[in-house]
Each structure stands twice: as C-alpha cells, then as structure tokens.
C-alpha cells in the first residue's frame, strides 16, 4: 500500500509539473547570465557623434544601468522605443545595435529620438552571443556593481514598465 502512495505522490508531482510548465511561454527562455558580472564584449564605433561603449564604461558607472539590444530593422524595437525613452529620463541606457546599416540606424534615431547614453554596433552578432541574446529586442538591467540582475525578452510594453521600474527601484536601494 505504501508503494502505491508513493506512486500517487509521483503522479501528483508530474501533473503539477505539467500544469505549471505548460503555462509558461516556451519562447521566453530565462537568461543563464543572471547574477554574473557584465560579459566581455566588443562593439564597433558608429560615428556621427554617437558615443561607443565597452565593458569598462559599464563598470565605471556606480548606478543601475540598462542595456538594450536593438536594431532599426526590428519592428518590435520600434514598439518599445517610447518605453525606452521614458526609462532614459531617469536611468542610464546603453544600446547594442545589432547588425544594422549605419544610415538606417541614423535615420531611425533621427525620426524617433535617441534615448541612449551610448550605442555600439554589433555588426557580426558576436557581442550579442556573449550577452546570451537569442532574439531582439532584449533588455538587461544591471545593478550598481554591474552584475546582470534581470533580462526582459521581447519589446518592453507599456504594461511592463511598472514591473521594470520596481526592479530598478529595488536595485537602486541596494548597497
């Protein structure tokens, strides 16, 4: 009888796993880099007065930072642009521009505005791999010590803004 009880418990665990597991969005894969320091990466200069950045630039800033991977060819990036702009009013936002043409990017920024502190170009997608990016847009939130603490996959919508702000608030209050 005891064995059957074990079997029953096993069944319940399995069913619960399915109920929880199947409700998750399989397109959203959690980052493996959470709680690790900023990865090594190299970005190319865009020019036209746009500042580039690298790992040390992020390490030097003693505040919460946002790193956003985007491109002008990516429609969801356009959707999240106004949310990124809102966040840029109070926070440092760095842009990793993935596989973009320089002129397309400049036009895009001219039309929509440039919320970024600095933008580096990831022409071959290698920096994106170092950040564990698999589809853009993706947004990372870094704490004061430049550890990756949160990753948002897909566009940041109006409805996501509150959650992101509250995460930033928590990180800002840390030592």
């Amino acid at each position: 009888m005891r064995l059957y009880l074990v079997g029953l418990i096993f069944c319940v665990i399995t069913i619960l796993t399915f109920i929880i597991g199947l409700q998750k969005d399989p397109k959203k894969i959690p980052s493996n880099l959470i709680n690790t320091s900023v990865p090594d990466f190299k970005l190319d200069h865009i020019g036209n007065g746009i500042e580039n950045f690298n790992r040390t630039d992020l390490l030097e800033i003693d505040d919460v930072k946002i790193v956003n991977v985007f491109a002008s060819w990516c429609p969801p990036c356009k959707i999240e642009h106004s949310q990124i702009s809102k966040l840029s009013e109070k926070h440092f936002i760095f842009g990793i521009n993935q596989k973009d043409k320089k002129n397309d990017l400049l036009n895009w920024l001219n039309k929509l505005g440039n919320p970024y502190q600095a933008i580096g170009s990831d022409t071959k997608g290698r920096a994106s791999i170092n950040w564990g990016v698999y589809g853009i847009p993706e947004t990372f939130i870094l704490d004061k010590h430049s550890k990756i603490r949160y990753k948002h996959v897909g566009p940041i919508m109006q409805r996501d803004l509150e959650e992101i702000k509250s995460i930033i608030r928590v990180l800002e209050n840390e030592d």
């Binding site: 064995l3 079997g7 096993f10 665990i13 399995t14 796993t17 399989p26 894969i29 959690p30 980052s31 493996n32 880099l33 990865p39 596989k99 071959k124 997608g125 290698r126 994106s128 791999i129 170092n130 950040w131 564990g132 990016v133 698999y134 589809g135």
Partner: protein
C-alpha cells in the same frame, strides 16, 4: 502493396533533416568542418526550438555556426566550445540536458513510471 500506395506512404515521411548551413560558412578543412557539424548537432536553436543550429534559418543559429568555426580555427576543443555556448545560453541550448539537481526528476521519472507499471502488471497476477 501497390506501387501508388507505397508512393502515398512516402508523403507521410518528413524529410526534415535539411541543412540550413550556407556554402560560404563551410570550412575547407574537412576534419574541422566535421567537428563543427558534431558540435552543431547537439546545440538547439533558441528560436526554432526543435531544430539544431545546422538545420535552422534563424539569425542566431547562423551566428553560432560561424562562432563554432572561428573557435575551431582558433584551436579550441569541441567541449570547450560547447561549454562556452552552454555557459551563455544555459541548459536550454543543449538537446541533452545535464543530470543535476533541477533535472533529476526529469531523468529519473521514466524509470519510476516503468517501476510502477511493472508492479501494476505483475502484482495482480500473484493475487489471482
């Protein structure tokens, strides 16, 4: 079976093992290319999740294929490259999840299921 029945049967076979690897990516060194294929076959494309990165058209799959070849040329071993990608993307990128605390249930559950099925079938006979 008539010949046309056999032909219809063929329609049900899916020839999904189509390579997406592009000619300019292929290395001239046959051995290195062979190793690149071995590495690719165990890495899942994060966008098209039932394809490995050799079969996927997604941008990230192409980038990873190129990365694998660059690292091979740089003299890295297969496991070093797989570990690098695993480190960046997590267990999800591997078709065969490693055995650890979180995956213990996943690995052990088939055996548990068989164990109980075995009990269910053979215990009853004894009672009869």
């Amino acid at each position: 079976m008539k010949i046309n029945q056999i032909l219809i049967l063929f329609l049900f076979f899916n020839f999904t093992n189509v390579m997406s690897i592009e000619p300019d990516e292929i290395l001239e060194d046959v051995q290195l290319e062979q190793r690149a294929r071995e590495i690719s076959s165990v890495l899942r494309c994060m966008v098209c999740q039932n394809e490995n990165i050799d079969n996927s058209n997604a941008g990230i799959a192409k980038d990873l294929r190129i990365l694998i070849r660059e690292e091979l040329i740089a003299g890295k071993t297969n496991s070093q490259i797989i570990n690098f990608v695993h480190n960046k993307y997590g267990d999800y990128v591997l078709f065969k999840p490693p055995l650890k605390f979180y995956t213990f249930f996943l690995w052990i559950s088939p055996f548990v299921i068989f164990f109980f099925l075995f009990l269910l079938f053979f215990r009853k006979k004894k009672i009869d």
